[in-house]
């Protein structure tokens, strides 16, 4: 090996890296919370919603799931201003992530809803609840519990995928890595450090989601 690793620069660029971590975390949090919410709404629409809404949501889901995130991001950031909708790179990044996770979350959550035994809907109905009430109070939580592991994985994937936002100058962790290496030309050390940080974030995020699952769902297996 003819390359001497040198992590000394890390001290100088630590603030850049920290800021990058902060933004990646923020993007993941906002994207996760709003994206899952959007996913729930879309899953409801696709599984139980009015007939006219189903194809609309289906088209949205297919569009998003079959095109790269980066291009969605470009259209939000560079394209929407043409329609008079201008936002900063962070808002654009957040919006793109919400739209993206919303589509994936929709399909995952829908599977959970469709696995709900028919008897649960009927029990809700026979107690006088409306369809929406039955969905909200009876169906949703067990459905989420059923697909929680899949949803958690998707949120981690979205966190890792958020790297693309560096392309619209949002200063996330990948931006920080690229910025540092463009100044120092120490690509290996920078990317290696970034990889480790991503790994740590992914592990922590997964644990957090597991913990969240433990707190919102009662401790039993959903059937």
């Amino acid at each position: 090996m003819n390359y001497a690793f040198d992590f000394g620069w890390l001290a100088d660029y630590w603030p850049v890296l920290l800021k990058g971590i902060g933004i990646t975390v923020e993007l993941t949090l906002v994207g996760g919370v709003l994206g899952v919410s959007l996913g729930i709404a879309c899953a409801w629409a696709r599984a139980l919603g009015p007939a006219w809404l189903k194809p609309v949501v289906a088209a949205y889901v297919e569009m998003i799931r079959n095109t790269p995130f980066l291009i969605q991001l470009f259209f939000v950031f560079f394209g929407l201003p043409a329609l008079g909708l201008r936002m900063g790179e962070l808002q654009a990044a957040n919006l793109a992530m919400v739209i993206n996770l919303g589509a994936y979350g929709c399909e995952i959550i829908r599977a959970g809803i469709q696995a709900t035994p028919k008897g649960q809907f009927e029990a809700g109905a026979s107690l006088g609840m409306s369809r929406i009430q039955t969905f909200w109070y009876v169906v949703l939580i067990p459905a989420l519990q059923r697909i929680w592991p899949a949803l958690s994985s998707q949120i981690v994937i979205v966190m890792l995928g958020s790297a693309a936002v560096s392309q619209i100058a949002a200063e996330d962790l990948t931006f920080a890595a690229n910025f540092i290496q463009s100044r120092t030309f120490r690509a290996f050390e920078t990317y290696f450090a970034a990889t480790l940080i991503y790994l740590a974030l992914a592990i922590v995020l997964r644990q957090l989601l597991r913990g969240l699952g433990w707190t919102i769902f009662p401790k039993r297996a959903a059937r």
């Binding site: 109905a125 107690l127 009430q133 009876v138 939580i141």
Partner: protein, 242 residues
């Protein structure tokens, strides 16, 4: 006027006519057992009365009000008629107490404290006061079914429909559920129940309805129906179930 009036009710699934003109009048306080072979339409009849299925012809009225298939009428109906299923259908993510409270709070907008008091009372009534905080999967089948009964009772229905509520239970647990039903009957609750427990039907019910191929084939007090089955079908049916 009868409490529940079922008049010439017909129900088709596609080409399959499952109910071929049903007529039953249920008086307040009556306890009616519905028996019959698998596929004879027993569940479908109960589901029609509760509005879970729409009927194709005929009419059903409960306490004088016609059953109409829009959300508002259905809701009103379901506040009058409770239903309990073979599969219990408890909400798995809620404790027993919450299961009983939920519909009161959501449908009737009962304040929480009141709903909780009612839930306590109803769980006591089915002998499960101490299981208020247990989740369904921590309860035996019989206990789950009793929670389902408490849940229906908490809505203070004027009649209760029970679809084979003991047949998913182990023999030992059947009795604890039937005991609860028996008590309800003795307190004057109007009950329509599909059941395979002939002994229970004989002891507790005021009338027995034998359904066969979508029709009420025989109907009468249990003494008569069990002792003197008039049709060959009923004779055979009673033979099979021993």
């Amino acid at each position: 006027m009868s409490l529940i009036e079922i008049t010439e009710v017909k129900k088709r699934f596609g080409d399959n006519e499952v109910l071929k003109g049903i007529n039953i009048d249920v008086e307040p306080g009556e306890v009616i057992a519905i028996i019959g072979k698998s596929g004879s339409g027993k569940s479908t009849l109960l589901r029609c009365i509760n509005g879970l299925e729409t009927i194709d012809e005929g009419s059903i009225s409960v306490a004088g009000a016609q059953l109409l298939p829009d959300e508002l009428h259905l809701k009103a109906l379901r506040l009058k008629v409770g239903m309990i299923f073979q599969g219990f259908n408890l909400f798995p993510h809620l404790t027993a107490g919450r299961n009983v409270m939920l519909s009161q709070m959501v449908v009737r907008k009962t304040p929480k404290a009141e709903a909780e008091a009612m839930a306590k009372k109803m769980l006591e009534r089915v002998g499960l006061g101490h299981k208020f905080d247990a989740y369904p999967d921590q309860l035996s089948g019989g206990q789950q079914q009793r929670v389902a009964i408490a849940r229906a009772l908490a809505m203070q229905p004027i009649a209760l429909l029970c679809d084979e509520i003991t047949s998913a239970l182990d023999p030992e647990l059947v009795n604890e559920v039937l005991a609860v039903v028996k008590e309800l009957a003795s307190e004057g609750m109007t009950l329509l129940m599909v059941t395979h427990e002939m002994r229970f039907a004989r002891d507790v019910c005021s009338r027995v309805v034998f359904m066969h191929q979508g029709r009420v084939h025989e109907i009468g007090p249990p003494g008569e129906v069990f002792a003197n089955p008039k049709t060959a079908e009923l004779k055979q049916f009673l033979g099979v179930v021993h």
